[in-house]
Symmetry: C2
Subunit: 552 residues, 2 copies
């Protein structure tokens, strides 16, 4: 397989070099062709074989009629097959649709139909779910089975993946095309409304990969990724390109380990057996790993782990550091490909200090080319003092240019020419971002943005407070004012004045803005929650704020 178009000696044209995903394979194949790709305890092959299999998968898809601009959906756990589709599908000029297999079946059907996918690669484990929605997928008649169990081919499937690869006529040479060709897409899942499709071009993914490699490599010591590392994702490959790291790992030519479905005991065994040194995950799964019985017998020293998806809790960071894990935060989201910041820390802060721990738990510093601002409602920058908060808005060369078939949501996403993350945060004097809230949980009062979560944390410290939720109440003069809704501990007493003074004291020490001090407090019997147990602020505003849009 040649990654380059055939040379034409009669055409002395300069090559303009559109940025294409196929180019990520150039260096590893030239320099580290014997490096390994491992899939659990099932498969192990080198980069030469990866290249050959990409050519075979492209051949198989071509034989099934996949053309430039078509969409190919994948439903799989983390595997070498997923990595092969990361390359083969876009290299054909087709769009890789990564199905979020954690969605409800009806949502999966919605996203498959909305994406326009014509071909589906599906792991046998998802067959029961697929059968349930089969009638809802009229356009998805070409299906390829991904099978770890080697069972019979079910009806409705044209081939099993490995058999298809064996029989395919491999594609030997991939053409150049416009770098703005769509390469990948997937769906974000908000708490309300339909999933929204985001999409990324070849150019965006190449720039994301180069920049992530540059950012991860240039750290003086802590949190750095280099060519002798061994990479294993623990964020699913259907979730924002597994943070883009499979592309980065391939570009660097490092050994890659794909663990299949995430089972803590198996993950720990793979880390030990394959000498994994670099991973990324959400806090929950790291806690599951560290709390697993096998963790006590595992040597996790030197394992580098980026935590994203949610803030890195201080206690978890301490627990991980105690195991010798180099743990640190990162920040991004589905709309941003995802990488925006990394909480790498300078050598000067490397000592096992409280400050270093704080920095590790932040979202981090922007990676190259990211123009990250914290702005107020008028798109004016707030101070970078670690206190003033505003919405995080960004520009970067790899942000989704909108939501698929949704001009209204796209316009809101890009209001003012910056992508609005919907997150509230502050930036300290060292340039580190801390994300404090989602914007919908923030109270805008007197020109300042007050974190309802921070207010709740303060009030919850009072021993007589059983539960607390703080919402913003419409106010003619201040825009909004904070209203704490407090459930008292049975048999305990606390007055409105005491609650107000609790916050006022913290504002006097500079921990929170004076605008956060509430004018009044409502004592309630209970606090409305959503089906998954989160405080239902929408319903609370509806109940307690007649001026709220939620009440109208």
């Amino acid at each position: 397989m040649s990654l380059t178009t055939a040379a034409n000696p009669t055409a002395p044209e300069p090559h303009a070099y559109p940025l294409l995903i196929k180019q990520l394979l150039l260096t590893p194949l030239a320099v580290r062709p014997a490096q390994e790709i491992v899939y659990g305890d099932k498969v192990r092959f080198d980069y030469r074989t990866l290249q050959a299999r990409i050519g075979q998968l492209a051949g198989l898809l071509t034989s099934l009629g996949v053309k430039h601009g078509d969409t190919v959906a994948v439903m799989d756990w983390d595997s070498n097959r997923y990595l092969e589709s990361y390359f083969a599908v876009p290299m054909l000029g087709a769009v890789l649709m990564m199905v979020n297999i954690r969605l409800a079946p009806e949502q999966i059907a919605y996203t498959l139909n909305h994406s326009g996918a014509r071909v589906l690669l599906a792991n046998r484990e998802f067959l029961p779910m697929l059968e349930g929605i089969d009638g809802q997928l009229p356009d998805l008649r070409t299906r390829i089975l991904l099978d770890d169990a080697e069972g019979p081919l079910p009806t409705g499937f044209v081939t099993e993946y490995e058999a298809g690869l064996r029989e395919a006529t491999p594609i030997g040479s991939f053409p150049d095309f416009d770098e703005n060709t769509r390469a990948t897409m997937f769906y974000t899942t908000g708490t309300t409304g339909r999933p929204k499709g985001v999409y990324f071009s070849h150019r965006q993914l190449v720039l994301h990969s180069l920049t992530a490699m540059a950012a991860l490599g240039s750290a003086p010591g802590q949190g750095r990724l280099h060519r002798d590392d061994v990479y294993m994702p623990i964020t699913p490959m259907f979730h924002v390109h597994a943070w883009g790291l499979p592309y980065v790992a391939t570009l660097m030519g490092v050994k890659q380990v794909y663990p299949g479905r995430y089972l803590p005991g198996q993950l720990l065994a793979l880390i030990a057996r394959e000498k994994v040194t670099f991973s990324h995950c959400v806090p929950t799964i790291l806690r599951m790993l560290l709390d697993h019985p096998a963790a006590a017998d595992s040597d996790l020293r030197g394992w580098k782990v980026i935590i994203g998806g949610a803030a890195l809790p201080r206690a978890l960071a301490q627990q991980a550091l105690a195991c010798g894990i180099d743990i640190f935060g990162g920040y991004g989201m589905s709309e941003t490909c995802p990488l925006l910041t990394l909480a790498q820390i300078d050598a000067s802060a490397l000592a096992d200090s409280d400050e270093a721990l704080s920095l590790r738990t932040k979202a981090g510093i922007p990676v190259p080319l990211v123009d990250l601002r914290i702005v107020d409602e008028n798109m004016h920058d707030v101070a970078h003092d670690g206190i003033a908060t505003g919405e995080v808005v960004v520009r970067a060369p790899w942000l989704t240019q909108g939501y698929l078939h949704d001009p209204g949501a796209s316009a809101a996403l890009w209001a003012g020419g910056y992508l609005h993350t919907g997150d509230i945060g502050n930036i300290d004097t060292g340039g580190y971002l801390r994300v404090t809230d989602r914007i919908k949980d923030v109270i805008k009062t007197g020109g300042e943005w007050i974190s309802s979560l921070a207010l709740e944390d303060i009030i919850a410290l009072h021993p007589a407070v059983s539960e607390v939720a703080v919402i913003g109440i419409t106010d003619a003069k201040w825009g909004e004012r904070p209203l704490p809704l407090v459930v008292r501990q049975a048999g305990s007493e606390v007055s409105e004045a005491e609650i107000i003074e609790l916050v006022a004291a913290r504002s006097r020490t500079g921990d929170i803005s004076r605008y956060a001090v509430p004018d009044r407090v409502s004592f309630v019997e209970s606090i409305a929650r959503t089906s998954v147990g989160k405080i239902n602020k929408k319903q609370l505003r509806c109940l307690h704020d007649p001026g709220s849009a939620d009440a109208r």
Copy 2:
């Protein structure tokens, strides 16, 4: 100064993010604004001041009428002023023309006129030379003095640089524009013909900077550049963007030291005082440094030095390693921005072994996105066995798209859709490139390319050989055949058969192709040399090969 265009809240347009040089400043200003820029023992300021001075220089140039598309020429030693012009000129949409001050005055006049420069920034040291060619520069009437001596303003100059910056209305915000806008240009200097202009766009320089950062950062240990390094160029800033490293260093936010004119004693003093850890230079200047009396008292341990411009001699590498210098090769040229390969070595080869030394002296492995091939005359790849040679041809996102105003040379440069380096080399099984010859010194015989330099090295080992030059002689059957021209040592004897057997023995051990074994040898009285002492192969072919084009 804002690096971003003002937000327009009424235009919810996604930002497409054209790649522009101004964006290289985003991260360092956000994260490391207090980092230092040092100019010799003259000036020291932080990145905030760099940003302010870039805005002032842009304001000064604007007040002098510089507009998008204009060309601004600079003649200076390595200085903070040069760094400022690296940013301010392209950020205005103008083209930075870096004048090679080592050219003859007439050639400098030619390049200034050919580039279309309207504004010149010139160091006072070059005034005598400029006066000599003043009549030849009719279009270059706007001149700014770069003055380290603080003398009076000479006639013909509109202002001195620092005075101009103080009085300028700073540019506060730089616009977005097409990323393919030309940003820089300079002239290559072949041994024959006029200097040829090469040019690079914003997009190309951003991609070159990101990739160099990624390649330099991702090395496991040896030859790596990180954010706590201190950078000092010892390749002039007028020479291929000082290998692009000033842009890379700025993007990484490292401390930068600019040494002015290269004087070995001062360079050693700066390395010590400013704790320089990363540099690049040609072999000659490193040898000058190491042979300088002050070198014996210098602690150069940990200093990382890329050697380019010529192959790194093994003896020099050993001398540098003995001083604790982490020395290694790199490869590129004016036409390639320049970075193509870096001779970083894996941890497994890090031991102080003969193999590691050999790897350090090679050109190296391709950096990401570089499609580097070794091809024969029909653009077919030769084997990567460390022996088979061919021309090095490349594609990368940062190669000049031609020579300015020279369609003929541009077409030859890009024959077959690959940039032809004019270099001959081989690639070993590990992917390392070694450059062995310039293509014009290669003998093409029996479908193989024979290095005349390698043949000369073999023959010169005979004790009776005083001088040797090998040229290719036109041959009806083989295309060319090698002809050694040998000057015997006075009083020594060596026969034609002995010379032929010397080469034949090396071909039997696989050191050189059997096609390299000459059919005959000419014994001559002397060997023609050029004015700078190089063997004049052109003249030798003319004298000894009636079939040569040089003889016609």
